[in-house]
């Protein structure tokens, strides 16, 4: 039996009253709007064939299909708009490759069904002059109307086939597997590095671990680490431990094996930042930074997986994005470490470093971590 949730919405009625009208949950809704593009990338005489399929109800929003306003669309009404539909296809589904725009020939429209919904099918022939495997698509259908509309692309590339999700307004490489795999890899590599640089929580966590990496703990007090080599070694241990553990959870989450709720992970990441920094303040604790990095890295891995999911990664073609994104994360953190370590190494010998800077920076990170935990709490 369905549940009790009867979410409401509001209509203004007169100057004062509100009339509440019951609603229903999205779980009962139509699917979000989507079209389909299948491309047969195996060229014949320099040609490729493609087929774009669009739901009649979506097309009816973009074009005046229902000419007699009877709230129905019949095939005759589609025929009357065939020219307009072909123009719409040309302007909204544009192909390009390394040599520039591809020329597109359209063929008579067809119909097909997806479940109970009817689709108009536009068969296309593409002529592209660039390098094989560099095909891209610039998709614009419903861009200014429906922000959740997506195009599901199937590339038939000889023996292999793969699916991609394309958002309107974002040109996307969809070319043959080997060439686009490299591009895809670098795209996700950049996204991974970008996520570290804009992910202040991960940076704060790293900083909390790096601050004491240039020191040695002797009893209740800190001493400067004697050589740069040892500082680098200590840092490498931390970074490697963090990498191993976060890679495990990132992989598990991206593959759909383990997927904790994002909101809890965000809170846990914030708390891990506070915890990591608080160990710098507890004199009696002597837990190696590498162990902290290893333990908390599991939580951060889930956070990376959420960021990866936000990029629109589905369940198909997961290996390349996963590898690229993870290496991007490593690259991003290595850049941060490479920038921070020399500075910390130089500063470590100053008495103020252990007396003031380490405790005050750690305290600030603790406060920041706790603050994030509070604001992220649902």
């Amino acid at each position: 039996m369905s549940g009790s949730g009867r979410r409401l919405f509001r209509r203004v009625l007169g100057a004062f009253a509100v009339l509440w009208v019951l609603g229903c949950t999205v779980s009962q809704a139509h699917d979000t709007s989507r079209s389909y593009l299948s491309v047969d990338a195996a060229q014949r005489d320099g040609h490729m064939t493609a087929r774009w399929e669009v739901a009649v109800i979506d097309l009816a929003v973009a074009l005046p299909l229902d000419s007699n306003n009877d709230s129905r669309v019949v095939w005759g009404e589609v025929l009357a708009q065939e020219g307009a539909i072909e123009s719409l296809v040309r302007s909204n589904v544009q192909f390009y490759d390394s040599a520039g725009p591809c020329s597109v020939d359209s063929h008579p429209l067809l119909v097909d069904s997806h479940g109970e919904q009817m689709y108009i099918v536009a068969p296309l022939t593409l002529v592209c002059n660039g390098e094989p495997g560099t095909l891209g698509v610039d998709y614009a259908f419903l861009r200014d109307i429906d922000g959740s509309h997506r195009m599901l692309v199937r590339m038939n590339d000889g023996p292999s086939a793969r699916t991609l999700v394309v958002a309107p307004g974002v040109p996307r490489e969809i070319g043959a597997a080997h060439a686009s795999t490299v591009r895809e890899f670098f795209r996700y590599l950049a996204e991974g590095a970008h996520h570290i640089w804009i992910g202040y929580d991960h940076l704060a966590f790293l900083l909390a671990l790096l601050l004491p990496a240039v020191l040695l703990r002797g009893g209740d007090s800190w001493h400067p680490i004697p050589s740069l080599r040892k500082a680098i070694l200590e840092t490498l241990k931390i970074v490697s431990a963090f990498t191993i553990s976060h890679s495990i959870t990132l992989g598990l989450a991206a593959l759909g094996i383990l997927r904790p709720p994002p909101v809890l992970i965000e809170v846990a990441i914030a708390l891990s930042v506070a915890a990591a920094a608080s160990f710098n303040l507890l004199r009696r604790w002597n837990l190696p930074g590498a162990w902290l990095a290893f333990g908390f890295g599991f939580i951060h891995g889930f956070g990376f997986a959420n960021a990866l999911a936000d990029l629109g990664l589905g369940r198909g073609d997961i290996v390349v994005p996963l590898l690229g994104f993870n290496l991007g994360v490593e690259l991003g953190q290595l850049v941060v470490v490479a920038a921070a370590l020399p500075v910390l190494f130089i500063l470590r010998a100053r008495p103020a470093y252990t007396k003031y800077w380490l405790p005050s920076a750690s305290s600030a990170i603790v406060v920041l971590g706790l603050y994030w935990a509070v604001v992220r709490w649902p």
Binding site: M1, D31, T32, I57, R150
Partner: protein, 376 residues
């Protein structure tokens, strides 16, 4: 492997039945019951008030048709005015509605918190926040908001709101008394009547009074045929009691949605198994595409689908993931059903903890709790 699985299911032409064709009959119907979205969008709102009216009209129509597309259109219509969301409670409310419709309950609640901070007397925001807290299983928070409406809105509103909150606070008899008193002798008509009747039906079912629940659901659907929540609950009752033809009759001309398709597949299973298998195949395609698109709003139906037609392990995983976002009793029941099917008591831990914490009692959960050896 993943790709192969996905390609096999996603509905590209030629992969799921007949090949595309060029019709010969100009009268062949391709779509019916078309929405007036085009006309609404074509009006081209230029001012804030016109955009607001347009967005409200779109969400209203979208809700009636159970069509999430309309919410995306409304979002675009409001986009130019979203910069002022903090100072414009009306825009904020529509935006919160869009968020909650997409199951971004926390996002919606955040917007409403801000509205209520500026305007503590904004009853619309308060009621919407209460409903969101109910969907999240946060009965105590919901109750605070519901009680805040006393004396400001009609007793129908606050008592229906509070009754739902009481029901997940261990006070089911009080909830039933409160709403029954309010509805006594009143005409159950229109969406508001259907809403209240649907809640009465839920309370009755929670108390194990199936006949009472059916009576209220019938009244709810009669008052508002577009009350999809009540319609689905009624379908479940009919299917469970073997009245499949009655269910199939009602399913005619209902929107194409996961919830209705699951009931159609169930109802057809006994009268037309081949057709039922086709509907199951369509549902598989829909869920595969939702996966490809990263859409996690179908988890309740996904769990339900796996439980009834697929893999109980996947059902438990989806039900538990869904329970992190949605904590209505139906969501709790799905977890318990999947856990009971697998005889996996540990899979039900979270739900059991939530039931104990909220002192919620529900006759519908009793069989599964018993099967799992858990004292209710």
């Amino acid at each position: 492997m993943q790709t192969a699985w996905l390609l096999g299911l996603i509905g590209f032409a030629g992969s799921c039945g007949a090949a595309p064709y060029r019709p010969t009959d100009p009268d062949l119907e391709l779509a019916h019951g078309l929405s007036p979205y085009r006309a609404t969008l074509a009006s081209g709102a230029s001012s804030r008030s016109a955009a607001l009216a347009e967005a409200q009209s779109l969400t209203s129509e979208g809700r009636r048709r159970a069509d999430v597309r309309a919410f995306a259109y409304a979002e675009r219509v409001l986009a130019p005015f979203m910069a002022h969301i903090e100072t414009d409670p009306e825009v904020a409310l529509v935006s919160a509605d869009i968020h909650q419709y997409r199951h971004d309950f926390n996002g919606a609640a955040k917007i409403l918190d801000a509205v209520l901070q500026r305007q503590p007397q904004n009853d619309s925001a308060r009621l919407m926040r209460a409903e969101i807290r109910l969907a999240q299983g946060r009965g105590r928070d919901a109750l605070r908001d519901c009680l805040g409406l006393i004396g400001r809105q009609s007793p129908w509103i606050w008592s229906a709101c509070a009754a739902q909150a009481y029901a997940i606070n261990g006070r089911l008899p009080a909830a039933q008394r409160l709403l029954a008193t309010t509805l006594q002798g009143a005409e159950i008509a229109g969406p508001r009547g259907a809403w209240a009747a649907g809640i009465m039906a839920d309370l009755a079912a929670q108390a194990g009074d199936w006949a009472g629940s059916e009576t209220w659901l019938t009244r709810a659907v009669a008052a508002n045929p577009d009350d999809h929540v009540a319609a689905v609950e009624l379908l479940d009752l009919w299917i469970a009691s073997g009245r499949t033809r009655q269910a199939l009759e009602m399913l005619r001309d209902r929107p194409v949605s996961d919830a209705y398709l699951i009931r159609r597949a169930e109802a057809l299973a006994s009268v037309d198994p081949a057709q039922s298998r086709l509907v199951v195949a369509d549902l598989s395609r829909r869920f595969a595409e939702a996966d490809a698109l990263g859409d996690r709003t179908h988890l309740r139906e996904r769990a339900m689908f796996e439980l009834r037609f697929g893999d109980p392990k996947a059902a438990l995983a989806h039900a538990r993931e869904n329970f992190q976002t949605q904590r209505e009793l139906v969501d709790a029941r799905l977890v318990l059903q999947a856990a009971a099917t697998l005889r996996d008591k540990s899979g039900a831990t979270e739900v059991v903890a939530w039931l104990r914490d909220t002192h919620t009692d529900d006759a519908r959960l009793a069989p599964e709790l018993r099967e799992l050896g858990i004292k209710s």
